[in-house]
Amino acid sequence: MIEERFDAIVVGAGMAGNAAALTMARRGMKVLQLERGEYPGSKNVQGAILYADMMEKLIPEFREEAPLERHLVEQRFWIMDDRSHVGMHYRSDDFNEERPNRYTIIRAQFDKWFSSKVREAGATVLCETTVTELARDDRERVVGVRTDRRDGEIHADVVVLAEGVNGLLGTRAGLRARPTPDNVALAVKEMHFLPRETIEARFNLKGDEGVVIEAAGTISRGMTGMGFIYANKECISLGIGCLVADFQRTGQTPYGMLDHFKQHPSVAPLIAGSEVKEYSAHLIPEGGYKAIPQLHGEGWVVVGDAAQLNNAIHREGSNLAMTSGRIAAEAIVQVKSRREPMTATNLSLYKKMLDESFVIKDLKKYKDLPTLMHTHSQNFFLTYPQLISKAMQNFVRVDGTPKAEKEKATLKSFVKARSWTGLFGDACRFARAWR
C-alpha cells in the first residue's frame, strides 16, 4: 500500500488528464497521475487535429516545443458518391500566421511531450498501471483508487476521471452509464507514409502547410458516418467512422468500409504507393449534450471523452477534453484553497464553470443534431450525396441539352427521391437542429 496521500489522483494521460494534472500541479497540489500504457500516448488514438487556442491556455509556448506536424491552411469538405465528390474548399493565406490556429499532430508523440510538461510541473506520473476500481469509504464517498499493482489502495482528496470514452471505472462504480451503441461511433484509421515532397505535391502545399479533408456520403453506405484525410509531415492519417448501432444493424465491417474509402477514385491517388505503418481503432462520443453524464460527485469529477464532451458536428474533441480538464482542475484548486472538502456540493463549481464555457454552450447549441443525423441517416448520407453528385454532373457536362431542361431534370430527381414535403421537412428539421 502506498502510504503517501495525494491531493488529487488523475486517471489517464490523454488530453483531459494531462490538462488537469498540469493545472493542479502548477498550483502546488500534490498530484498522482496513473496511465495504463507503457508511456503516455501509447493507448491514445485521434485523427488528429490540435486547436492552438485551448493548448495555448495551458502551455503558451507550446509552438516552440511540442511535436507538431503541419499548420492548416486549407479545409476541404467532400460530399461523395461512389465515383465522384462534390467539394467545398476553404484555403486562406491568413492561416500562414505567426501563431497558427490549427495543427495536425501525431498523438503518441504529442502526448509524450505533453506529459513531460506535467512531470516538470511536479506531478508524479506512473505508467503501466491500470486502475481497476475506485476506493470508497463507508459513506460511498470516493477516497482513492485501487490498481493492478500490489500497492493496494492509494488515497486522495479527489479523483479526476480522465479515462476516455471507454473508461471502466466510472461505469463500474455506477457514476455514469456505459456508452450505448447509438451514442458512440467506431472509427478505424491507418497511417500512410510517403516522402514529404510527395505529400506536398499531392496536397498543393509548401513547407509546413497542411490540409484537412472531411468526407461524407455513400462511403458510409447510408450509415451515420464520416471519413477523414489529414496531411502530416511525412504521413497521411486516413480513417472512417460510423455509429456503432449502424454497424451492428447493417453488418458492415469497419475495415471493409476503410478499404472502400481508400479505393475511391478521389482518395486512391492521394495515398498511392504509401507504406502503412499502423492500424488503429477508437470510439468517439457522438451523443452530444443529451449524453453528458453527471459530471461531479462526492470526491470525484469526470472530464473529456469519459464525460462524452465531443462536438461531433465540428469534429472537436481534444480541445473540449483539455478545456474540461483544465476547468475541473481550476475548480478543485479553488475548493482546496478555501480549505473545504471535495464534496459534491463544493465540486459543483466545476459544472458551473464548464456551463459558462464554450464547451457546454456549443454542445447545447447542437443538442438535437445527433438524433436527427441518426434517424435520417439514409437521406443525409446516401440519398442527398447521390442527388447532389448527379446535379453537379448534369451542370458541368456539356451535351447539347438546353440548360432549362437540365435544371428541370435535376429538380425532378430531387422531388422524385424525397418529395416536396420530404425536402421541405428535411430542410426545416436540419435548420431547427442547427439553430
Binding site: 498523438r107 503501466e128 504521413c235 456503432v244 465491417t253 469497419p254 478499404d259 499502423e278
Partner: protein, 98 residues
Amino acid sequence: MNVEPSMRVEDKLYYNRYLVDVGHPHVKVRAHTTPSPQLLALLKVCPARCYELNDNGQVEITVDGCIECGTCRVIAEPTGDIQWSHPRGGYGVLFKFG
C-alpha cells in the same frame, strides 16, 4: 474502378506493436451453446476481427490482436455475453502514432 483485393485484417495487425499478456486475456466470452445476436454482431463489427465462430458454431475470441477500442464492450457487455477489462498495466496494444 480498379479495385485491388483488400488486405486481410490479420495482416494489418502486423503493423502494430503489442505486448501480449500470455494467459491473462482481458476480454472473455461467456460459455454458450447458441450465440446471441449481440455476439454474432461482433464477428463483423470488431475492427481487429478478434471474434470468430468455432466448429461448433460458438463465438470465440483471441485477444492478441485487440486494439482496445471497446466496441464489443458497448454491444455485448450489457447482455452479459462478454466480460471486458483493460489489459494489465503496460500490456496490450502500444500505439507508435495513435
